[in-house]
Amino acid sequence: MSSAPPILACRDLALSVPGRTLCRNVAFDVHAGECWAIIGRNGAGKTTLLQTLAGLRKPAAGTILLAGVPIMNYAPRKRALRLGFLPQDTFDAFPASALEIALGGRHPHIPRWHPESAADLKLARDALAAVGMDDAATRDVQTLSGGERRRVALAMLLAQDPEVMLLDEPTNHLDIAHEVRSLELLAQLARARGRAVVMALHDLTLAARYATHAVLMGSENVDAGAAGALLTAEKLSALYGQELVAVAHPHGTAFLPV
């Protein structure tokens, strides 16, 4: 385990939604360069956990530390310079080009009344290229398919370029090729550029392939730690209440329902 201080840490975290406690005593440290997968059944609280980690909702108890400082102490813009969040759903109520949307990711970096610089524009274009949407830069997002919109939303987060990237089911609506490509990209950002990635995932095989660490959100308790120890057929079968088998393949392990 790295000896550097964690970029994102939660201590004694308890989460609740109206009428229900989701979990308590959750504690884990996310370091730069790590790629975390949050795994759990529907309604286990993956989205709530991510929103809380992002500083967008108050935990029932406990603290989140972003670079050692409680996340609630950050001014929104200062927080957005260090931490970005891709929500499960984004809205496209109005026409906007893919490039405009990607440029939106630069918002925290640009002072008020200032226009986007050439460097911002380049970062936005690079982000679109990274998700394979550079050809659609001038297309109206409302004419794009669900998967293409999802990739544009991901480009917005890439353009924001924060140290900590939180993603709520980033592979929603994506075909299998883009699913792999997007996760490859995120894992690469963690490995090569020292970003910390935390994402909710449903595909266990892809989680096993790309995650270095995992959070298993069960109904009783939450396990967090190295992916190798947690992403096993035994633990995952118990988590989902569905028997799974691990099948070894040349690139890792696939999990299949029995």
Partner: protein
């Protein structure tokens, strides 16, 4: 999708606005040429035509421009906040609340209180709509819109109640608040001043507003203080509506149609949409008011009637167009 650079669209709209103002200054019961208008404005002399231009037509054109621009801005802001292109101060009951406040002040004989009462009415309407439509900690745009429509209907009923109980002599003057009429506009300065203020504040929040259109969570994760920004923008829309209603009564459809139409050309980047909608709204209402007062001269139509007659089919057409 961007067919023209943003600034070209704004420049073109500014030219249209200039033409609309020129039309407003030259047309009327006496036709005054462009040259004579320019002379009357630049070298004021003691002649009848000059007085007509300076004391009647100019203040009215300025008021019309300010009202149209304020309504278009209020509509732009509300559409982006509700993530719904059907939002507008008239539809959501802000205009109704403002008119109701103004009428109550008139009925009480407190003429000086008309503007504050109109603002209070618009603000009450905003708070009411948000209070009623709020649920599960989030403001669902659809519910908000429906609540707004119901609240607007409620204001309409209250206005009818005031009209039926008011003394006979006051009713005609009060009807003005219902239909939207600029014949009472004798000063253009206050409206334009309010417009300048509203536009600067709106532009201050323009980038945040663009992000809010993509969802509160997206905006918050990009560093927009969602709650404060949303509240400030709603108060701004309420203020813009109140000023517009005080100057011209409740003019409908400008706040709905103008942002919608301008967005088709310039996109939804609020830094461009806000000023473009303001200029287009100002130009449209100046034009509409001039037509309203010259169409069946010497009688004058209330401009609100004209904007509704033009606005309804135009809006239906835009709605069909944007479906494709």
């Amino acid at each position: 999708m961007q067919r023209f650079p943003h600034w070209i669209v704004i420049a073109a709209l500014a030219l249209v606005a200039l033409a609309a103002v020129a039309f407003a200054l030259t047309a009327g019961s006496v036709d005054i040429g462009v040259g004579a208008v320019a002379r009357a404005l630049l070298w004021p002399a003691d002649d009848a035509d000059g007085a007509v231009v300076r004391e009647l037509r100019l203040p009215r054109a300025m008021a019309a421009f300010a009202v149209g621009a304020l309504l278009a801005l209020a509509g732009t802001i509300m559409q982006v906040l509700l993530r719904n292109p059907l939002a507008d101060p008239y539809v959501l009951g802000l205009s109704g609340g403002a008119a109701c406040g103004a009428l109550t002040a008139l009925l009480a004989g407190a003429v000086a209180m008309v503007t504050p009462a109109a603002f209070a009415g618009a603000l009450v309407s905003t708070l009411l709509v948000f209070g009623l439509a709020r649920g599960k900690g989030a403001w669902a745009p659809t519910r908000l819109l429906l609540t707004g429509v119901v609240v607007a209907t409620g204001w309409g009923a209250l206005i009818m109640l005031i009209l039926t109980t008011a003394p006979e002599a006051q009713v005609r003057g009060m009807l003005f608040w219902l239909v939207g009429d600029l014949s009472g506009a004798t000063r253009g300065g206050p409206g334009l001043l309010a417009l300048a203020g509203v536009l600067v504040v709106a532009l201050f929040f323009a980038r945040d507003a663009t992000l809010l259109a993509r969802g509160d969570t997206t905006a918050a994760s990009l560093g927009v203080p969602v709650r404060g920004t949303t509240l400030a923008l709603h108060a701004l829309a309420a203020f813009a509506t109140a000023v517009a209603v005080t100057l011209a009564g409740s003019v409908g459809f400008v706040g709905l149609v103008v942002p919608h139409a301008v967005r088709l050309v310039i996109g939804n980047d609020q830094r461009w949409l806000m000023p473009a909608a303001a200029v287009a709204g100002g130009a449209l209402l100046t034009l509409a008011d001039t037509v309203a007062r010259t169409l069946i001269a010497p009688a004058q139509l209330p401009v609100g009637v004209l904007t509704a007659i033009v606005g309804v089919p135009l809006f239906l057409w835009l709605l069909r167009r944007s479906d494709r």
